[in-house]
């Protein structure tokens, strides 16, 4: 009896195994389909267990999505960090080398302390929504202060300070530009990482108007333009602007500016200016 059972089970399992592997072999030969090599490599890196925890229909679905860049490489839970790293490598090979890195800057100095608020805004508390009716600051060029940019930053590189203005943590900023897209008032801007001197205002109001409504805005007094010798500063439409292509630091202008709206900031670590100055 014992031997019989042994033989039968070995035989039946062997039979099943043989038939199935035959089917698969034939299928492998006849039904093979060509795949995008990147998807294929991504698939090979994945566990291949088709658990579905990623929300896709199996590993191949996830692999395709990753290859198309639709989802983050870290979406595979069983795979964990190791797989994520592998995937990043597979995909990363083709990413272009970045040019000069950019950093985001906040071009407004009119926080709660500086800017006059002459109306009461009631409604959805996002900048985009408040912008429809103008927000509550008298200056229509000012930062509205509900932090759409902060919410938009995918890298947690921004926060709102007590004065109601956003702040960029330059070390964390990747220059992705999401904040710029999010801001309805064009307050956020990208500049080269090694530029440290900027005009922190966007107001095109005339000087007297600005004086009345903001203690930190550009009053278009033109002192900077007049006294600077680098030619990098100009006042256009009642607002001082720096011409970065001049590649010179308008240090005098900083000194002259009565409202200190042109300021020099600490260089971003790793991006200190190398070129000789003045």
């Amino acid at each position: 009896m014992g031997i019989a059972v042994l033989i039968i089970s070995v035989a039946s399992m062997g039979g099943i195994g043989l038939i199935l592997s035959l089917i698969l072999v034939v299928a492998d030969k006849k039904l093979a389909v060509k795949e995008d090599p990147r998807v294929e490599r991504a698939l090979a890196a994945l566990p291949g267990i088709n658990c579905g925890a990623c929300g896709f229909a199996g590993c191949s679905g996830f692999a395709a999505a990753v290859a198309e860049g639709k989802i983050s490489v870290s979406g595979c839970r069983p795979g964990g960090q190791e797989v994520a790293a592998q995937l990043a490598q597979i995909l990363g090979g083709e990413e272009a080398e970045a040019e000069t890195p950019k950093k985001a800057r906040v071009f407004c100095s009119g926080g709660l302390k500086e800017a006059v608020r002459d109306k009461v805004y009631v409604g959805v508390r996002t900048c985009e929504a408040a912008h429809i009716v103008g927000g509550d600051k008298a200056c229509l060029y000012s930062c509205i202060g509900y932090g759409d940019c902060v919410d938009a930053c995918p890298f947690d590189a921004m926060y709102m300070d007590e004065n109601g203005l956003p702040v960029v943590i330059l070390e964390k900023c990747t220059g992705c530009g999401e904040c710029v897209k999010a801001c309805p008032r064009n307050i956020m801007g990208l500049t080269d990482a090694d530029e440290t001197i900027h005009v922190y205002c966007r107001s095109q109001d005339k000087g007297p108007v600005v004086r009345k409504i903001c203690s930190a805005g550009c009053i278009a007094c033109k002192l900077c333009e007049k006294d600077d010798d680098t030619g990098a500063v100009m006042v256009v439409d009642n607002l001082a602007v720096i011409d970065y292509s001049v590649h010179k630091d308008p240090l005098k202008a900083i000194e002259r500016c009565p409202t200190k709206v042109i300021r020099v900031s600490e260089p971003v670590p790793g991006f200190e200016k190398e070129k000789a100055r003045n």
Binding site: S9, M13, G14, G17, L18, L20, S21, L22, V25, K29
Partner: protein, 182 residues
């Protein structure tokens, strides 16, 4: 080696090994399992037809039953496995009957998936014991929330009328079928 041939061989090989290993394990454990099963069957039969010495499995068409004999070989009753749907799923039970099938000698719930603490209480001894001595003619019945006054009736588990009714129905149904066979 050809890749596909290798596929074939490896898979077959592993299947064979698996079959072999498993059959060995099975051969070791089979007697134990067998014994377990038999013991369980024996216990449930002894439970429903008390005081017997031996029993014998009979199969008649679709129906399986056990003929129970005392020490002298007299048929003193039958044990009848039966099943049917309860509140939530299948209920399997064993019912013991006197040789003329007019009286139940006992029942034993073998398997059920009723609500624990509710329909599940049909597995409790108190409920099963009620069936001892219950008359099967014209049919077994049930009453709710009170002591039964007929000798064919049992009292349903409180709040689980359906499970109780299912047990009764399963019993009745199988007794009727069994009568036709005998």
């Amino acid at each position: 080696m050809n890749r596909r041939l290798k596929m074939l061989l490896i898979m077959t090989l592993f299947a064979c090994i698996s079959g072999g290993v498993l059959s060995l394990v099975y051969l070791i454990s089979a007697p134990l399992i067998e014994a377990n099963m038999l013991e369980e069957e024996r216990r449930s039969i002894l439970n429903v037809v008390p005081g017997i010495d031996s029993y014998e499995e009979r199969i008649e068409g679709e129906m399986k039953y056990f003929e129970c004999k005392d020490a002298s070989g007299f048929v003193v009753g039958y044990a009848l496995p039966a099943k049917g749907n309860g509140y939530q799923g299948v209920i399997k039970l064993m019912v013991g009957l006197t040789p003329d099938l007019s009286e139940i000698t006992g029942i034993s719930i073998l398997e059920q998936v009723e609500t624990p603490g509710l329909g599940g209480r049909i597995s409790e001894q108190v409920f099963q014991d009620q069936f001892q001595g219950i008359k099967t003619e014209p049919a077994v019945g049930y009453v709710k929330n009170q002591a039964p006054d007929k000798d064919t009736d049992i009292q349903a588990v409180t709040g689980a009328t359906i499970s109780s009714r299912s047990v009764v129905t399963i019993i009745n149904r199988n007794i009727v079928k069994f009568r036709e066979i005998l």
